[in-house]
């Protein structure tokens, strides 16, 4: 179950959250934002304080010696991942960088449970993905991880609320129990006033935030974002990182982002570099 992460957060934030709620979510968010901004100004840092030390946090993702091949034809086999190992601690924001074709997406997909590794193990939140049944894997995708894609992939015929509701539909939650997580997710990405809009009425940045709201509606432990800013201008891209950071603060979510943008990656706690299906180095 979702652990309450509030005791890890800043006391000021706790104070803002615990003050008497007057019904105005936007106001609450604005307050939180301005506080976060003031924090940033104080430390003269961007939204995220990098290089926070997570080594005393539990390991949430453990990739151990993982290999993965794509069988294009019987003879043409692409070794997309070769003996990849990595660890990610709870609450970390990790950027994954590397040339196109280096295996980033494949690694993300395996961590996200879209397939099982050919060799090695991937353990997320103490679950060995390779050993999960199909049903358990589906539940894992629904509950434990959240996906954000480069091209958003919102349902064009559903409004934002409905789009955010989709993972709940698959999770078989009761209809009346859905309002709270939906509202919370939408407010976490600052789209409360757009909740009834269709995707085509939103800007690119807003669409990606909507996709993030959808990804976090089940309060996943791990948020997987494959080039989430690839399709956005640099301002929206930077904005996206703030959102991830806020989500991390609010829900304690661990975030793994694939990006080509050094500026964006620079805002992560850690950068992992890949080349030709292997991890070459980390930074810091």
């Amino acid at each position: 179950m979702q652990k309450d992460n509030s005791d890890q957060s800043d006391p000021k934030i706790r104070q803002i959250i615990s003050q008497e709620y007057n019904g105005n979510t936007q106001q609450l968010i604005d307050e939180l934002r301005s506080y976060l901004r003031s924090l940033n100004e104080k430390s003269e840092q961007p939204a995220i304080e990098p290089a926070r030390d997570f080594s005393n946090q539990p390991i949430i993702v453990k990739v151990n010696n993982v290999s993965y091949d794509y069988h294009i034809t019987r003879k043409n086999i692409v070794h997309a991942l070769k003996n990849v190992s990595l660890e990610i601690h709870q609450g970390e924001i990790v950027a994954l960088m590397g040339a196109s074709g280096s295996g980033k997406s494949t690694l993300m997909s395996l961590i996200g449970g879209l397939d099982r590794p050919n060799n090695g193990t991937i353990t997320v939140n103490d679950q060995d993905i390779g050993k999960l049944s199909n049903g358990q894997l589906t539940k894992y995708r629904n509950q434990t991880v959240g996906f954000v894609f480069q091209f958003f992939y919102l349902q064009p015929f559903l409004n934002l609320r409905r789009n955010v509701e989709v993972p709940l539909m698959f999770g078989r939650s009761k209809r009346k129990d859905r309002h709270e997580p939906i509202d919370r997710s939408i407010s976490a990405v600052n789209l409360t006033d757009r909740a009834s809009h269709k995707p085509k009425e939103l800007s690119g940045g807003q669409m990606q935030r909507a996709a993030i709201a959808r990804a976090i509606v089940n309060r996943p432990k791990l948020l997987l974002a494959d080039e989430p800013t690839g399709n956005l201008d640099s301002k929206s891209g930077a904005d996206m990182m703030n959102i991830f950071s806020e989500i991390r603060e609010q829900f304690g979510t661990t975030v793994l982002i694939v990006t080509h943008d050094q500026n964006i990656a620079g805002k992560a706690d850690r950068i992992i570099y890949m080349k030709d299906g292997e991890i070459t180095h980390e930074n810091p």
């Binding site: 997406s105 879209l114 015929f157 559903l158 989709v166 993972p167 539909m169 698959f170």
Partner: protein, 599 residues
């Protein structure tokens, strides 16, 4: 996943998809609509016919059994034999058989006559044999047996040979012309034949105030069908543009116009008289065991010379010597004595001309042999008519004779037809087989009518079901093919295969329901239009077919038989579901990791 969630996610994505889906919905609904329409229309007809169950022969399951021509080589062989007889006849009299002769009408008529004689002889044998063989088999379940009287048919033929049986009644030239016209138009001669009706059945059709007793004027009670009755009546029924109530009113007027009236037939022809007497004798023989009632008398008509008007007899010189002279006693002459037979119209019998195309359904109701409009109750007996020596009648069931059976229920009737299935509609007609066919019951007639279309309906239903299946398969296959990414996204978001299947099953069912709804609406509209246009005419046919002249029943050609409508919908939904299996199975089997890849 909840059902509603599935439906929310099954919504159509874009304009082109919507247009494509709508087109396939419209096309399938046209086909589905034909099925619905059929169901509405057929139940409309059946429901309407049901309302007439208390009239006419509808409570009975009458069945006619008659032998068919065609044994021993059929018509062609018989005609060949007839030709050689005719040729030999001519040659024996020293007449050379030239092309001119064989192409003459006289020669052809003679050959046809000989051919019929040949066939009749065979037929008589066939029937006698089959009757002997099958009586035991057929009889037990038959409640009554009726026979029509072949000799009366022959008397009708004899009358036909008489140039103007009705003209003698004409008071002046104008009336004569009118009568002549009536004769020509009514095809009167062809229809003039008689059937004997069981007493109990006759009671069913007896009109109020009428009895089956022979009247003081010697008139024999007779049941006539509307079609024939209307020849006598001044009331003309043109169904076009009339409401049901107006048509009913017309029928009542017609009924009042003719019921209880006496119809006279004058026979001035020895052969006709002879045959008539023989037929009445046969009638008597049949009725002998039953209660005897007032005897029939045959009165003299007025002498011909008084009534022949401007018509004069041809002189001997004027009479051309025939190619095939008849033996003296059978020679057709204009008889000096005319006899009158009086019939009193005591009721109106269901009857419909099997060859009247406008009357396609009720041609099934009353297929009487040789077009039998007149029905004499078998209780009419005659002790007093002067019986002549019967030459070859022998109370025989040869010639055109046929047998009727009356069953208590449809099951018995069906079993009878099946057990003796030697040439009913269903059995085909091998030479020498018996022709067995139900008549008189509207419901049975409708059943047989729809039987003709059964295969057509089955084919249509099969095609429609196949179309429902393949349309669904194609459209869902295409949609799923175009939604690989969407499916992968859903699965990445935690959808089970079952959820994906549910979404597309929902999608397919929504399309099917739309098609069904549209089809149903179109079918109802079509049936309503048809009903509006033809229900009255149909109702009039029902009245004519059942003799329900006093009824005030309305008919409709649209009926809602829930069982049928549900069965059709169910079959189509099942077909759609079947069509969903393959594309969905294929769409959910794909390897997830490959589908999300950016191109």
């Amino acid at each position: 996943m909840k059902i509603l969630d599935g439906i929310i996610l099954a919504q159509t994505k874009n304009r082109t998809h919507r247009i494509r889906n709508s087109i396939s919905v419209i096309i399938s609904s046209l086909l589905f609509g034909v099925l619905f329409f059929g169901a509405l229309f057929v139940s409309g007809m059946l429901n309407s016919a049901e309302k007439y169950q208390d009239f006419g022969f509808n409570k009975r399951y009458l069945t006619i059994v008659l032998p068919q021509y065609g044994g021993d080589g059929g018509w062609d062989a018989a005609e060949g034999r007839a030709r050689s007889i005719a040729n030999k006849d001519l040659e024996s009299r020293g007449i050379k058989v030239t092309d001119e002769i064989t192409e003459s009408e006289e020669y052809r008529n003679h050959v046809i006559e000989l051919t019929f004689q040949d066939l009749d002889k065979q037929l008589g044998q066939i029937y006698d044999e089959l009757a002997k063989k099958n009586d035991q088999k057929f009889h037990p379940s038959a409640k009554y047996e009726m026979r029509n009287i072949s000799t009366l048919n022959n008397s009708a033929e004899a009358i036909t040979n008489d140039p103007d049986p009705l003209l003698t009644k004409a008071k002046d030239a104008t009336e004569k012309r009118t009568l002549q016209k009536t004769i020509n138009e009514s095809n009167w001669q062809d229809n003039l034949s008689f059937n004997l009706l069981d007493n109990e059945m006759a009671q069913d059709m007896l009109s109020d105030g009428q009895s089956m007793k022979v009247g003081d004027d010697g008139s024999i009670p007779i049941f006539m069908p509307y079609k024939i009755v209307s020849k006598f009546s001044s009331v003309k029924i043109d169904k076009k543009g009339l409401s049901t109530a107006q048509i009913n009113q017309k029928y009542r007027e017609l009924f009042n116009d003719v019921i209880g009236k006496t119809v006279e037939y004058c026979y001035r022809n020895d052969a006709a008289k002879d045959l008539l007497i023989r037929s009445l004798e046969y009638n008597y023989q049949l009725a002998k065991d039953k209660s005897k009632e007032t005897p029939i008398t045959i009165n003299d008509c007025a002498p011909i010379s008084d009534k022949r008007l401007d018509q004069t007899l041809p002189t001997d010189a004027e009479i051309k010597k025939p190619l095939f002279p008849k033996a003296d006693d059978k020679q057709q002459t204009i008889a000096p004595i005319t006899k009158t037979l009086r019939f009193r119209i005591s009721g109106i019998a269901p009857y419909s001309d099997p060859f009247d195309r406008s009357n396609i359904i009720f041609s099934q109701v009353n297929i009487w042999p040789s077009g039998t409009p007149m029905i004499i109750p078998s209780t009419v007996a005659n002790d007093s008519i002067e019986l002549k020596q019967i030459i070859d009648a022998e109370a025989s069931n040869t010639d055109y004779s046929s047998t009727f059976y009356d069953f208590e229920n449809r099951a018995d009737q069906k079993r009878f037809i099946a057990s003796g299935c030697q040439g009913s509609f269903e059995c085909g007609s091998k030479p020498g087989d018996l022709w067995i066919q139900p008549f008189g019951n509207v419901r049975v007639a409708l059943e047989m009518f729809f039987d003709i279309f059964k295969i057509l309906i089955l084919i249509l239903a099969a095609v429609t079901v196949a179309v429902a299946m393949f349309t669904t398969m194609a459209i869902i296959g295409k949609t799923i093919g175009e939604s690989r990414r969407e499916i992968a996204i859903f699965r990445a978001l935690g959808a089970r295969r079952r959820d994906i299947a549910q979404i597309y099953v929902g999608f397919g069912l929504i399309l099917t329901f739309r098609a069904l709804l549209l089809a149903f609406v179109m079918a109802v509209v079509a049936a309503l239009i048809l009903s509006y246009k033809y229900a009255n005419a149909f109702n009039a046919e029902l009245i004519a077919a059942t003799g329900a002249y006093t009824s005030n029943i309305n008919s409709s050609l649209i009926g809602f038989d829930m069982l049928w409508l549900l069965a059709i919908s169910g079959a189509l939904i099942m077909a759609a579901l079947l069509g969903l299996i393959l594309p969905i199975a294929m769409g959910t089997r794909r390897k997830l990791i490959n589908q999300l890849r950016e191109e």
